[in-house]
């Protein structure tokens, strides 16, 4: 207790300064500068600000009127819904099933986590081949089952779905591992007691598993919401420039487009700030909504 070693505070500076210097220079300072930038006129990446916007908050007005930004927001919200229901939902089902089996649980963990370590850019190329119009994996399967015409997965209303599915698929394993760890922490005695009392499988899930997993599920939901806002690599490679017809923008890819292609750097900064604010606000709302619910 109260070790003598750590009474001398001088080495502390050497321990702390390098890491915090990095964070201040590359995270905190740029983050606040980015907010300041979003109120100024910047006409190219790396250029300095040329005075205030008129009015200074004009970029934030533009966010509400820009139709492409609206598409990006709507698609991002769909992406979020897919991550919440698709990823966390599928992961929860898989986790509860794996928790019930004796053999092969470890193998399933390894296989489910596999897509996460692979670069999303590589997966985008892979899914381009799978969804290929003439003729990728899916269309070949459809033909084999007697479909007459090819389906273009990357056109029209299917495009957004085609973008959301691979992203959702990739990260199911991530939430699966978190949830399985949570399930492992629930003592088998509780289940045993419940089945002695005559609880059915469904009742055990409803009254034991879900309430005891509550905190873990909240963590997953926060991660899913902030994760959906950070998606970039896969959509950017599969659907460059919001193709087709500006239908597939996401907040991340649209921010990049405004910054690099349109050279409206200050608008890009504003979109980036909106991404941060949305992440914080939505995950707070979700967590509050879940806390109020009484089991």
């Amino acid at each position: 207790m109260g070790s003598m070693i750590y009474k001398n505070k001088k080495p502390l500076l050497i321990f702390l300064i390098p890491a915090f210097a990095f964070m201040v220079v590359f995270l905190y300072y740029p983050f606040f500068l980015n907010i300041w930038n979003s109120f100024h006129v910047i006409k190219g990446l790396g250029q300095s600000a040329k005075g205030w916007n008129d009015p200074w908050y004009s970029n934030y007005l533009k966010i509400f009127t820009d139709p492409k930004m609206r598409t990006a927001m709507v698609n991002t919200l769909w992406m979020m819904l897919a991550t919440l229901i698709g990823q966390v939902g599928i992961a929860l089902l898989l986790a509860m099933m794996v928790d019930n089996i004796k053999r092969g649980a470890k193998l399933f963990r390894v296989l489910y986590f596999l897509p996460i370590v692979i670069s999303a850019t590589a997966l985008a190329l892979l899914f381009n081949l799978i969804f290929l119009y003439d003729t990728g994996m899916l269309n070949q399967i459809r033909m084999a089952f007697g479909a007459n015409e090819l389906l273009d997965f990357k056109k029209g209303s299917l495009a957004v779905l085609t973008m959301i599915i691979p992203v959702t698929w990739q990260y199911v394993g991530f939430y699966f591992i978190i949830l399985v760890t949570g399930l492992n922490n629930i003592s088998p005695d509780i289940y045993e007691a419940a089945s002695i009392d005559g609880a059915t499988k469904l009742q055990r899930v409803r009254f034991i598993t879900l309430p005891l997993l509550h905190n873990v599920i909240c963590t997953c939901i926060t991660l899913a919401i902030t994760g959906a806002l950070k998606v970039f690599d896969l959509p950017y490679t599969m659907f460059p420039n919001g193709m087709p017809n500006n239908k597939t923008w996401l907040t991340g890819t649209y921010m990049y487009y405004q910054t690099i292609s349109t050279k409206d750097v200050d608008y890009g900064s504003a979109i980036a700030l909106v991404i941060v604010v949305l992440g914080v606000v939505l995950s707070q709302i979700a967590n509050h909504a879940l806390k109020e619910k009484d089991y």
Partner: protein, 289 residues
């Protein structure tokens, strides 16, 4: 007794569970095998018959010869390794030192610094990259023809982006170490730095391995930073190269399949060798974060 046993073994519920679990496993594994298989076929065969094994006259190495002659694959690998290994080394060193001090020392402002670390995890790279780019431009390390400077400019933001995750995970492990060993080393006459490198680091090696693997994968797979910092084709790292292939050679399906295989095979090998650390560290990071 007999009845219970048979019920356990052949219960239809268990069959369904295994069927569903295997079905999802197929979706995660089969696409990768499919692209591997097709990387050994010519373009025409991929679009006519992508499910058969590449044996007999279906088999060809053309896609790989083309990939290695047409694309600067080795250069991109070298660039990726230089970037990712420097990210790993710097993050492990700085985060280790910082986590150790934040756990063991009691001082004013400690809680504030800890919350700074946590909050830093909230900043997505979108919200920092524009000012960071401008700053690095004023240091003349981006938009240059110099290969090494451009690799440095990719590594720096990635280091910053991985630091807070690493500090949080490592703090958790260092906190669980008994302080007695450090005290014993102190009585032997070790300085705090010697204690850190000779006692703390060896004891928490697995968690350093986990953090290192994660930083490596994130850095290796990160396209966004590379889009900003790598200008010339000789500077491209592997994910940037892939992105360019897809926009330039989008219809050469054989070449695409070969390129995807070239990029993911090393990662998959690393993954299967080190999956123990990867999966364990993931949960530690996610739950504490």
């Amino acid at each position: 007794m007999e009845k219970v046993k048979t019920k356990r073994r052949f219960s239809p519920w268990m069959v369904l569970v295994y069927a569903l679990l295997s079905a999802w496993a197929v979706t995660t594994l089969y696409p990768l095998l499919w692209v591997l298989m097709n990387s050994f076929k010519l373009r025409g065969r991929i679009v006519s018959n992508s499910f058969s094994l590449p044996v007999g006259d279906l088999f060809t190495l053309d896609n790989y010869t083309k990939a290695f002659s047409k694309l600067n694959v080795w250069g991109a690998y070298r660039n990726s390794l230089v970037i990712s290994i420097s990210v790993v080394v710097v993050v492990i060193l700085l985060a280790g030192l910082c986590a150790y001090a934040l756990v063991r020392y009691q001082f004013k402002g400690k809680a504030f610094l800890q919350s700074l670390v946590i909050a830093a995890m909230m900043f997505p790279v979108f919200s920092t990259i524009i000012p960071v780019f401008r700053m690095m431009l004023s240091w003349k390390i981006v938009n240059t023809d110099s290969l090494w400077l451009s690799l440095l400019s990719t590594a720096l933001p990635q280091i910053a982006g991985n630091l807070s995750f690493a500090i949080v995970v490592l703090s958790g492990y260092i906190r669980s170490l008994p302080i007695d060993l450090e005290e014993a080393a102190y009585l032997e006459g070790c300085s705090v730095f010697q204690i850190f490198f000779k006692v703390v680091v060896p004891l928490t090696k697995p968690s350093f391995a986990t953090v290192g693997i994660f930083c490596f994968l994130w850095s290796y797979n990160d396209l966004f930073t590379q889009m900003f910092t790598l200008r010339n084709s000789d500077q491209w790292a592997i994910t940037r190269l892939l992105n360019e292939i897809s926009s330039q050679e989008g219809t050469d399906y054989g070449l695409l399949a070969a390129a995807v295989t070239i990029v993911i095979v090393p990662v998959i090998i690393i993954y299967f060798c080190l999956q123990k650390y990867i999966i364990k560290g993931m949960t530690a990071g996610a739950i504490k974060g």
